[in-house]
């Protein structure tokens, strides 16, 4: 339940629907399903097996796990990535979590009265402090700061209560509550129909079509460079044909088959990235949680259950709520091109404001997001806590205090630099929340398949397992997963670092994230954010180098004592 809670997060309800709609539901779902089978499940199982193996020898942190598996001096340093990723992601994730709680309470208190997109945008900008740097630090219930203090206190209270007394309990209540709230919101959304009789095309059915139809139909301007306009629904298609016929050749209808869409490498990159982000593969969380399982525990079933819980929340709940609701009230044009935050915090509040009993459903939706977020954020702290316990040989209280100091300072940077485009948050998300996840996921599958050996890994995986992993996964984990991950990583570097357009294979120049760090367009918040990641990495490296526990792990010795958990 703890791992399922860590995996189910904001990405399920906001990121997934946006990506699925952007890349044409059918084609995206095919790439997504393939990525689930050759990345999500195999790398997840690899993490479960490696974590449990280290745990039965008394080690729980990723550096120690890597060290005892590989028995090489460099292994413990490679494991540091699995501590940096969750700690750095926590720094901005908890900030977003505070917005969810703030929105939920404000909806339930009836304080949200929105009627135009400009008003929702203003509310979001106030909450996130985008007016200027430091704006989020004002103590007002309209701003994130008080909510951030509440969620931070709650996160550390749950962490100090321990894995079984805090995190597990929170997930045991939070996950069913989340699913129940999502089902209530889903039932309301699916019965909305076409809320405005004057705009019959803006309906839930067309919202679902926009998300799930395998072929995309678009109106494209033949000369001007205006973006294509999506057309969904029989009546809308008939009107679009008339519009094209009347345009005298200025417009044309374009149908993109799912097969043609699958030729776009960016679609595969988005699907694979979503699988990693969503299943918490490459986050450094699963390996820590699995280390608390014994040889009689079924990690195959545990891994599959955590993955299936996540997929259920993502596809069956997230995929049916967000986009259809937004299309029904605001139309396709308002939804197209919206990113994670755009859809969640600037489009949906307007939807709930227009919906009957919108205050209740809006509050329920954002509280559901808050539950999804907190079950993930507490999971992000656990790898840091066990790392500090093992590296320094200190108790849990000291480790939590140190991590609280570190994350408060780091979070302060994110919360201060919110002016304009929330540069610090965006930079951390790019370098730690995307690049390092790809690196860690690739590293883990290479360690499992190449250094540890698939046969040995499968023997570990099957200890205590009631069901056996199909043998085809041996071949997938040995060859397909590593090659696919390396290919996806190369595509990511080409697109996001070197600026290649993967659809046309033309370069658009070096990525803005790189230009932010050096040259005339360098940005101070971006530099500080990357500097902070480097500083955290250096501190963790020094602690790792001095740790006696990690040296014992490197020599294959059992740890003499286990960290206190509850």
């Amino acid at each position: 339940m703890a791992v399922a809670g860590s995996a189910v997060g904001l990405g399920n309800f906001l990121r997934f629907p946006g990506l699925a709609a952007q890349y044409g539901g059918g084609a995206f779902m095919l790439a997504y399903a393939i990525s689930f089978l050759i990345i999500g499940l195999p790398i997840g199982w690899a993490e479960w097996a490696m974590g449990r193996h280290a745990g039965t020898r008394g080690y729980h942190s990723a550096p120690a796990s890597f060290a005892i598996i590989l028995r090489r001096p460099w292994a413990k340093y490679a494991g540091i990535i699995a501590v940096i990723v969750p700690v750095v992601i926590y720094l901005y994730y908890v900030f977003i979590e505070s917005w969810c709680l703030g929105y939920a309470v404000k909806f339930w208190l009836g304080e949200v009265h929105l009627s135009t997109p400009a008003e929702t945008e203003a509310m979001f900008k106030t909450m996130s402090g985008q007016a200027f740097d430091g704006a989020a630090l004002a103590f007002s219930w309209d701003v994130a700061l008080p909510w951030l203090l509440i969620v931070t206190a709650l996160n550390f209270y749950l962490i100090i209560r321990g894995l079984s007394g805090g995190i597990e309990k929170m997930c045991n209540y939070g996950m069913p509550a989340l699913i129940l709230l999502a089902l209530v919101v889903l039932a309301r959304v699916l019965t909305l129909g076409a809320p405005d009789p004057a705009r019959p095309h803006d309906s839930v059915a067309n919202g679902l079509g926009y998300l799930w139809n395998p072929s995309k139909v678009q109106i494209v301007a033949t000369s001007a460079s205006s973006p294509p306009r999506d057309v969904v629904g029989t009546a809308a298609l008939a009107e679009a044909r008339q519009e094209v016929a009347a345009s005298d050749g200025a417009l044309k209808l374009q149908t993109m088959s799912p097969w043609r869409q699958l030729l776009n490498p960016a679609l595969w990159l988005a699907a694979a990235g979503q699988i990693c982000f969503s299943l918490a593969v490459g986050f450094g969380i699963i390996i820590v949680y699995a280390s608390y399982l014994g040889e009689k525990d079924d990690v195959v079933l545990s891994g599959l259950t955590a993955a299936s819980a996540n997929e259920f929340c993502e596809v069956a709940l997230g995929g049916l709520i967000t986009v259809p609701a937004a299309v029904a009230f605001l139309g396709l044009a308002s939804v197209a091109g919206q990113g994670t935050f755009g859809l969640g915090f600037t489009v949906l509040p307007l939807v709930f404001a227009k919906m009957p009993f919108g205050a209740f459903f809006g509050g329920a939706f954002f509280f559901m997001l808050f539950l999804a977020a907190i079950t993930s954020s507490i999971a992000m702290l656990q790898p840091g806590v066990v790392f500090l316990e093992e590296a320094l040989g200190v108790g849990k209280g000291t480790a939590v205090t140190l991590l609280a100091a570190l994350t408060t300072a780091g979070c302060g940077l994110v919360v201060y630099f919110t002016g304009g485009q929330m540069k610090a948050l965006d930079t951390l998300d790019f370098w730690a929340g995307t690049l390092l996840i790809f690196i860690l996921a690739t590293l883990q599958i290479l360690i499992f398949s190449r250094h540890w050996g698939v046969k040995r890994g499968f023997d570990e995986l099957h200890l205590g397992a009631a069901m056996r992993v199909p043998s085809i996964f041996q071949m997938i984990m040995r060859w397909i997963s590593p090659v696919f991950m390396l290919l996806i990583f190369c595509l990511w570097v080409l697109k996001e670092i070197l600026g290649f357009d993967l659809a046309t294979f033309q370069t658009g120049g070096i990525s803005g994230y790189v230009r932010d760090l050096a040259g005339p367009q360098a940005s101070a918040p971006a530099r500080l954010s990357v500097g902070m990641i480097i500083l955290i990495a250096l501190v963790f490296t020094c602690l790792t180098a001095r740790s006696k526990a990690f040296k014992r792990a490197e020599r294959g010795l059992q740890k003499t004592e286990t960290p206190h958990l509850s």
Partner: protein, 51 residues
């Protein structure tokens, strides 16, 4: 929404729902069969041993 879109949605949602339900059923029934509560409690080597 086209028929192919509806089929794709039904297949995707149905698959993940059945998989999730099956996993939960397996977790609950396997726990009952073995008579042990599944948990993520730490393993204490000396647990149950005489003092």
């Amino acid at each position: 929404m086209t028929w192919s879109g509806f089929i794709l949605m039904a297949a995707s949602v149905g698959t993940v729902t059945v998989l999730f339900a099956w996993c939960i059923y397996q977790v609950l029934t396997t726990s009952q069969e073995s008579g042990e509560a599944r948990s993520v409690e730490p393993h204490k080597p000396n647990q149950g041993a005489p003092p």
